[in-house]
Amino acid sequence: MQLRWDLQWGVMHETCAKEILMSAPVGQGINFLRNKRKVADAQVVHDRLITRWTMIGMAVFMVVVIGVVIAKLVIGSQRDAVSKQVDQSKARIATFQTLERDYIVFAKKVQLMFGLDKQREAKREAVKFFYGLIPQDSVIQQVQLDSKQFKIIFQVESPDVFRMLSLLRIFREKLTKDVIFDVAISSVTRKSDGTYLTTGALGYEALGKTTPTPKPGVKPASKK
């Protein structure tokens, strides 16, 4: 009956009970009270062992909890300090608001003009090159500067057919050597006064595409 009751409370217990029963001298009979006490004592020893490890675990856990709480407090205080610093900096920067606005606008304008100037530089170089091609006796009638297409569309008037041919020869000679510029003659017209009108386009795409476009995109002003 005792053994069955012990078995309900675990293997260790059962082992103890079995040991007690086995170790009891046959002739003396069985002292159930003493055995029961021994089993209970062994149980207590075992429970105390568990409790000891639990306490160690609990202590470690509490250290972790305290560590976490302290860490949170430290980080919270650091954040407060940084927030205070940010607020102070903002308050001081607010005293420079006019200067800040002026500088931002200034910087933006410089960036826009820089982009524009790069574009103009390409165009300027192309125009300079184009002017250098035209001989003295020919007159540039019209020049259309197309920044988007990187083209100079032109009309050049030559006083006679020989000057016109000379102009075409110049175009051919100079541009076969040049890799940046290309020219396309679209028409040659003889006018009623005997002059010749040469129409064409000088492309400078290779030059123009190396320069950045203004940021952000140029938008035409609306007309009213």
């Binding site: 909890v65 954040r79 903002k90 920067i93 933006k108 304008k109 259309q144």
Partner: protein, 265 residues
């Protein structure tokens, strides 16, 4: 209540008190873990990320403050004025015409015509009207709000008379005056009935302006200041090469005579 056949609950509690304490400890630890430790760790993670963000903001603000405090105000004012003259906030109609007229005098060419159907000019309303028009035409988007921060064009057509050499000099000098102007199209027509060798040049010009309305109104303390590249900084020095006809600022349209002939033609 009994736990076993020969043990009451009280006896059991007394007998297994250490085990019960252990069990209670474990329950307490689990409760603390889920109610305190895990939320605290989550808070710490959040605080840490916020702290990092705020630290970077603090650094940015510190740099910005140092930059603003160490600013050479006098030098900046001069540069800023120059930039504002070159790229004004409003349509630079009057200053541009004055500059072109002065340049024409300088290069010995004559104004012979002007197409000035350019809408509202040289006023705050001109810049504002464009912003309003943009917002009316389509729904407001970030891109459209930023449209006030883009480079805007003002077109005009100008006719000048002169010899080809002088006209060429005029065109060349025109690219280095303020406000910034760009020649889009040049057409020459002989006017030999006036004088031999005289041509009339019809110029399609584009002048630029930048209202930068969004930038002007949305200055906030915590955004970093824009940084200019080395090339852009070098370009600022190049601005001194542009010719400014300062008298353009003194053009008065207040008097009746000035209204009749504001450009002194």
């Amino acid at each position: 209540m009994t736990v076993g056949p020969e043990m009451s609950l009280r006896q059991f509690a007394r007998q297994r008190r250490y085990l019960l304490i252990s069990v209670l400890c474990w329950i307490a630890m689990f409760m603390l873990l889920f109610s305190v430790v895990i939320p605290q760790i989550q808070d710490i993670q959040y605080l840490q990320s916020r702290l990092e963000t705020e630290r970077s903001t603090a650094d940015q603000l510190k740099n910005k403050l140092q930059f603003l405090e160490a600013f050479d105000l006098n030098g900046f004012k001069a540069q800023n004025e120059r930039v504002n003259v070159m790229l004004p906030a409003t349509k630079p109609f009057l200053p541009l015409l004055y500059s072109l007229k002065e340049l024409a005098k300088q290069e010995d060419v004559i104004f012979s015509g002007l197409d000035w159907s350019i809408g509202l000019v040289a006023s705050d309303s001109a810049a504002q009207s464009q912003g309003t028009e943009t917002s009316k035409s389509t729904k407001t988007t970030a891109a459209q709000v930023a449209s006030g921060d883009s480079l805007q064009k003002m077109n005009l057509v100008l006719k000048v008379l002169g010899t080809t050499e002088k006209l060429n000099g005029y065109f060349d000098a025109m690219t280095r005056i303020t406000p910034v102007v760009e020649i889009d199209d040049v057409a020459l027509a002989p006017k030999f009935q006036i004088q031999q060798g005289i041509y009339e040049a019809t110029l399609k010009l584009t002048s630029f302006f930048a209202p930068l309305t969004t930038l002007r109104t949305a200055v906030t303390g915590d955004k970093p200041l824009p940084k200019l590249t080395q090339e852009e900084q070098a370009y600022i020095q190049k601005l001194n090469e542009y010719t400014t006809f300062v008298e353009a600022q003194n053009v008065s349209i207040a008097t009746p005579s000035a209204r009749q002939n504001p450009f002194g033609f």
